[in-house]
């Protein structure tokens, strides 16, 4: 149990501001918690941290000089995992990095360094999966729309990929779980929040919202997916390892006929 809990607003800048306070006040027994998933300790004191961009930038700049480029992106990736207690592992990692002269992000026999590398890897895997499994469906107002439900908060990580790739079409990727999305309007990508009709089923392609040709291309894709399979090599175990079942409901090719 920690003596003091710093509560931040859930943003990366907020977290870094809390880290700043830890160093500024030389706090020893301290934990950092997200305001939205808070768990009260019986005897610990809570302090709410105000997100301060300048402080956050100072910490980030310092970290970048203490970590390789891989190390700093691993830190950010790990933060986006939103795992319970991740802030404290990151804090330990950051303290260790600042305490050494050498770059520490390759010290895989240190428990926090290894943990961060491992979590960053699973977030990276999820990012890559989303780049693969996003399925756009053309809406009546000519927007390629996709809904996702990733385990980790990877929208900020996939933005660049989709912006570069689909530069000549309007598109939207919506994270149903976290209730926000990315929208590209042929110029720039914006973060958006949307209200959906109450009955809206994200897994169905409803003719009221989606373009007529959408159904045809989905059908062609499903046919292609079936034809390209070699029955005598069937290996469902391998199939499921590559495409875990939790993703199936948003994959056009895995929809029942």
């Amino acid at each position: 149990m920690k003596d003091k809990n710093l509560i931040y607003d859930g943003t990366f800048d907020g977290f870094l501001s809390a880290v700043f306070i830890v160093f500024e006040q030389k706090l020893k027994s301290v934990g950092i918690q997200n305001a939205f998933t808070i768990q009260n300790g019986l005897f610990s004191e809570n302090e709410t941290i105000i997100t301060d961009e300048q402080k956050a930038n100072r910490v980030w700049k310092g970290l970048k000089s203490k970590l390789s480029s891989t190390g700093s992106y691993q830190l950010y990736y790990t933060f986006l995992s939103e795992k319970e207690g991740i802030e404290n592992i990151l804090l330990d990692y950051i303290k260790y990095a600042f305490s050494k002269v050498k770059l520490v992000d390759k010290d895989f026999s240190h428990s926090s360094v290894l943990k961060v590398a491992q979590i960053a890897k699973s977030v990276g895997r999820e990012k890559h999966r989303m780049e693969a499994f996003v399925r756009f469906r053309l809406t009546k107002d000519e927007i390629y729309f996709s809904s996702i439900e990733p385990d980790f908060n990877v929208l900020p990580l996939i933005l660049k990929h989709f912006k570069r790739r689909y530069a000549d079409q309007k598109w939207m990727i919506y994270d149903i779980k976290r209730k926000y999305g990315l929208f590209y309007d042929l110029e720039k990508v914006e973060l958006i929040h949307l209200e959906f009709p109450e009955q809206f089923d994200f897994t169905k392609t409803d003719g009221n919202y989606f373009a007529e040709q959408e159904f045809k291309f989905q059908k062609l894709w499903q046919d292609y997916f079936k034809s390209t399979n070699i029955e005598s090599r069937k290996n469902m175990q391998l199939h499921i390892r590559h495409v875990p079942k939790r993703y199936w409901k948003y994959l056009s090719e895995k929809q029942p006929d």
Binding site: K102, K106, H128, R135, A167, L220, N229, S232, V243
Partner: protein, 420 residues
């Protein structure tokens, strides 16, 4: 175009193209700078996987399955009684663009049966790629087949629009080819391969002087061999493969376990199993050659003409070379670390990084994720516990097999019971 007709064609021509295993969509450098559609830089993406566990990253189709040749191992051979179809150039373009826009695919893999002549066919393949690049502003990945016997001029043009070119040699030896595909000659396969190789060399040289030299097949070329159709042993297969890597600068050689598709008595009969385990062992050997610093003759030679099926080729090599072990994890060089069974290149790099901070013991290695089940017999680390017994190769193999469960257990026990 009528939807039903396209639908039928797609079914026929995707079905006929599926035996080509290449699905790689990586290694190109075509970035989206013109605000067009698509971006093929560096890493490829598998957008889905079929139920047989193979990656789907490209729309893989034949332009047509009409063919003037009669190669015994091929589904689209002239004498086979199957439905035939042919796409129009525009149909392929529309399918590619619409699939790409929905994030289904990384690009197009276009092959074809040979109708009329090699050049006539190649011309049409090039026309599709050209249209995609110039009219549709498409920067996604395009893999074209080089049609055996196609002219140098067409191969030159093909490389300007495609990211990768490939020509399948299919049968590992000339003798096998003669038996199964009497109309085809080895030289016909080699000719476009040589042309592409030379163009790539020339492109790389010119690029150094003139930055705007148009790209030529930036993802290189590859080929494919069928395994288990014509009786070659693993030694012959890997020698051929090594020959092609060395002499034609290929990016990849693919190995495709023969899927029986005909009652031709020169071939394994319909219903016989696809040699998937053997295929896997060949890929492992291929990796050892390309990434682990092994020479092919260390793994396969006149004494060892076939790979073991029950253990992987690196372990098999280590068991034949016990005098080179144990290796000290904390001091050995990269080359030797890579030779320890159970250590992949990722683990090797992790060890090299981590041991700069402290000497590594079993606990560290386990957390890093090394397959100690195999590695423990071949290494020592910062611990006074290590394998002290002077174990023979057979004994080590037995211990490892006892403590591991191969994903091929079923295949293996079936194969053993055949001889029981």
């Amino acid at each position: 175009m009528s939807f039903e007709r396209t639908q039928e064609k797609l079914k026929i021509l995707a079905d006929a193209a599926k035996y080509d295993v290449s699905c790689s969509s990586s290694g190109s450098k075509r970035s989206n700078t013109n605000k067009g559609l698509g971006n093929a830089t560096g890493m490829g993406i598998c957008h889905s996987y079929t139920e047989d566990g193979r990656c789907v990253s490209l729309l893989k189709i034949l332009l047509t399955n009409h063919c003037i040749f009669d190669c015994a191992y091929c589904v689209t051979r002239k004498s086979n009684d199957v439905k035939r179809a042919a796409f129009k150039v525009q149909e392929v373009v529309d399918l590619t663009i619409n699939f790409y826009r929905r994030n289904y695919i990384e690009g197009l893999f276009l092959s074809s049966g040979i109708f009329k002549s090699a050049d006539y066919t190649m011309e049409r393949l090039v026309a599709v790629a050209k249209k995609l690049r110039l009219e549709e502003n498409f920067n996604g990945y395009i893999h074209l087949k080089s049609i055996p016997g196609a002219s140098d001029e067409l191969m030159r043009e093909a490389g300007l629009y495609a990211d990768r070119l490939s020509v399948n040699i299919e049968i590992p030896t000339t003798a096998g080819l003669k038996k199964l595909a009497p109309d085809k000659k080895r030289e016909d396969f080699i000719k476009p391969m040589v042309k592409v190789k030379n163009e790539i060399i020339q492109y790389k040289a010119e690029k150094k002087i003139i930055k705007s030299t148009p790209k030529y097949a930036p993802a290189g070329q590859s080929t494919q061999m069928i395994i288990g159709a014509s009786g070659e042993n693993d030694f012959q297969i890997m020698q051929t493969s090594n020959h092609f890597y060395k002499n034609y600068n290929l990016k990849r050689v693919y190995y495709s376990g023969y899927v029986p598709i005909s009652y031709d008595e020169r071939l394994p009969q319909i219903g016989s199993a696809v040699p998937m385990l053997r295929e896997n062992r060949l890929y492992q050997t291929d990796w050892l050659m390309r990434f682990y610093g092994f020479d092919v003759s260390e793994i396969l030679n006149a004494q060892h003409q076939n790979l073991d099926l029950d253990i992987d080729p690196k372990l098999s090599w280590a068991l034949r070379n016990l005098h080179q072990f144990p290796v000290d994890i904390n001091t050995a060089d990269k080359r030797m670390l890579a030779r320890i069974p159970g250590l992949g290149m990722r683990s090797v790099h992790k060890i090299l990084s981590a041991r700069r901070f402290r000497r590594l013991n079993w606990d560290h290695l386990k957390k890093i994720g090394i397959a100690l089940n195999r590695a423990q017999y071949f290494m020592v680390c910062d611990s006074n516990q290590f394998e002290r017994r002077d174990l023979s190769s057979e004994k080590i193999k037995g211990l490892i097999l006892q403590n591991s469960k191969s994903k091929y257990q079923k295949t293996l026990s079936n194969q053993l019971s055949l001889f029981a």
